[in-house]
Amino acid sequence: MKTIFRATRDFERHVRQDLERPHQFAAERVGFLSVRAASTGKALVLLADRYHPVADEDYVDDRRVGAMMGQEAIRKALEIALLDPVGMFHIHMHEHRGRPRFSPIDLREQLKFVPDFFKVRPEMPHGAIVFSHDRAAGRVWVGPARIHEIGEFNTIGQPVDIQSASRRRLRFFA
């Protein structure tokens, strides 16, 4: 089943602007997106609803990584999913243009906290997204241990942008 992440252009602009803000000691900012969802027989559609920046005081001073969230940041994100029927997606940004990729540290850390969202909101998908200045990549959990790549990102606005993983591969091998 193909997974599509969809957000308005204004929403994405707002998120990028927030993630670009400098932090007192962290090299980058992180946050969470709450999403609503829809499905067809062939696709899972994730619809960006709200952005929840991690508060300044909820970062841990760990200079080995760009940003490290403390337990309080995760607790607040879990609470959002507990109170509202939404999926939660961790988000951060890499400072470049073109398609971003999760670092090995990103992948390792996601496994520590994303499955926890199923304890409070098991019927919704959760996951992680990384933005670059103009592109995005992500992974969706459709169960505590069932992970898929987000196959398509749609930015809805003027102009509409469709980022399709399959199109990129076609171009790469052409």
Partner: protein, 270 residues
């Protein structure tokens, strides 16, 4: 470039426009006079996937404007969606076409993962429902429609609209197009010159405006910063102009669609 894929005459849309348009999944509700033109033009510009939904089969009275239809289709009571599929495949055999002979509400699986919704339906209420569905799944909505009103004995006003409604921007109620007065009047009658008067030249003009707005949205050939569009067609003077109604009606963020009104309310992975 092949015989089937030569888009050189629209290369001004950008080096990647063929790929971008080839990735688009377009949902067209209503395959009558307006929708059949839209479907045909989507094939010409190279949209890769088109979902066609209309509950009706063709009737003899449709032949005055339904492009692609034949006398044989009337005899066979062919579904309008199937006629549009044949029309598309005749232009671009590689286009993926899905059809549903049903109300669009019954085919909403074809809408949720589309990239754009074309509303070519009759009536204000149906437009309102369709725009609401597009907002729910965060999709651009492009609406066309025409109407004929009697001015006096033997004199008629032919008019139409093409509206682009984008999630996060003003909706058709904000713009002043969908008003309670119009919805109420529709309960009684739609147009004064019989039921749903439609003519091919006006349908074609409005469909062209819609497809132009779509292409401008997906492969812009000049920079536009609008969050909506409402073009009015005066079918009597054959002129198109930007409606000034939104200048008076739009004030601030759209209050009609709350952020929580996204997705399927009953969604569950299980």
């Amino acid at each position: 470039m092949t015989l089937e894929r030569d888009f050189s005459r629209q290369s001004f849309l950008g080096a990647e426009s063929e790929l971008v348009l080839g990735d688009v999944r377009a949902f067209v509700a209503g395959l009558g006079g307006g929708g059949s033109h839209v479907a045909q033009q989507l094939a010409h510009v190279g949209v890769g996937e088109v979902r066609l939904v209309d509950p009706q089969a063709i009737e003899a009275s449709n032949l005055n404007r339904l492009v692609g239809a034949t006398q044989m289709d009337v005899k066979a009571h062919a579904p309008k969606a199937n006629i549009a599929r044949r029309l598309i495949r005749g232009v671009r055999p590689w286009v993926k076409v899905e059809t549903a002979q049903s109300d669009w509400q019954a085919a909403d699986d074809l809408l949720k993962d589309a990239h754009v919704v074309f509303g070519c339906v009759d009536g204000y209420r149906q437009r309102m429902y369709l725009e609401r569905a597009a907002r729910r799944f965060c999709l651009p909505y492009i609406d066309i429609g025409m109407d004929v009103s009697e001015l006096g004995e033997g004199h008629y006003a032919v008019a139409g609209q093409m509206i682009v409604s984008l999630p996060g921007g003003p909706c058709m109620r904000c713009m002043g197009f969908l008003t309670q007065d119009r919805l109420n009047r529709e309960e009684n009658a739609y147009g004064d010159a019989g039921i749903n008067p439609q003519v091919v030249w006006t349908n074609g003009t409005l469909a062209s405006l819609a497809v132009g707005a779509f292409v401008q949205l997906f492969t812009p050939w000049f920079k536009l910063d609008r969050t909506y569009e409402w073009l009015e067609l005066d079918g009597n003077s054959q002129t198109v102009s930007r409606s000034r109604q939104p200048d008076y009606s739009v004030s601030g963020p759209c209050p009609h669609f709350a952020s929580g009104d996204l997705g399927q309310p009953d969604f569950s992975l299980n």
